[in-house]
Symmetry: C2
Subunit: 116 residues, 2 copies
Amino acid sequence: MGLPSPLPDALVEVIAQRFRVLSEPTRIRLLDALRGGPLTVAELQVEAGASQQNVSKHLAMLLDAGMVSRARDGNRARYSIADDSLFDLCEQVCGGLRRHLAEIDALLQMEGQPTR
Amino acid sequence: MGLPSPLPDALVEVIAQRFRVLSEPTRIRLLDALRGGPLTVAELQVEAGASQQNVSKHLAMLLDAGMVSRARDGNRARYSIADDSLFDLCEQVCGGLRRHLAEIDALLQMEGQPTR
DNA sequence: AACTTCTACAACTGAACAGTTGTGGAGTTG
DNA sequence: CAACTCCACAACTGTTCAGTTGTAGAAGTT
């Protein structure tokens, strides 16, 4: 199922925004930590190595993007992954990285040949 | 093939950086325009609706990330997609968007029930 | 060689955002 | 109720980066 071409402006903006949410190391770490199951803010604070306020802010952003969901548990808030397909995304990115690194390797193999 | 858990710090940074490259509307438009085949900077300038210098800068970023490749063609530079899997990525993002929007729709259906 | 076209580099400016500090509000416990 | 814990909101600060302006270099044309 392909996407329309050219992509409508509004869709371009939304796609970019979506990628932007994932473009922050702290948010990646938070999502990674949630792979093991739901966690509270205090627990995530430890996993991500960031301040409580900072973690809370990033979680709000992830929540707004619909990537995590929040559930009140008495005194605390328990966050969990809302969309497991996120990890397929990350794995694909890693796949792209492997290809990229392989290309660089290949270029380094034929040493002495200037690119330009 | 799963990723290690927790993700090593260096990998987290690289993943975030990768997403960051895709978090800009102009760069999305450039990649989208290249779906139809290689284009010159001048052609991309028209497609993306940005200045030549701006396009050139974004292309340099995409090139550095290994997402496009450059070939000199006489006087001009012809850019093309280096990794077709990029579009699978975008489609997955759009899939996530559909799910997200469906959830919001569902929430709006049961109107009057405050979220908190 | 002089001129034009095409692309890339560098410096500047404004906007967006990550992280901190401070604080308020909701829930629990004694 | 009082004290404490947990989480989120708001204002501030520094950094990062998108876009512009200006210019330099490389290739083609006359």
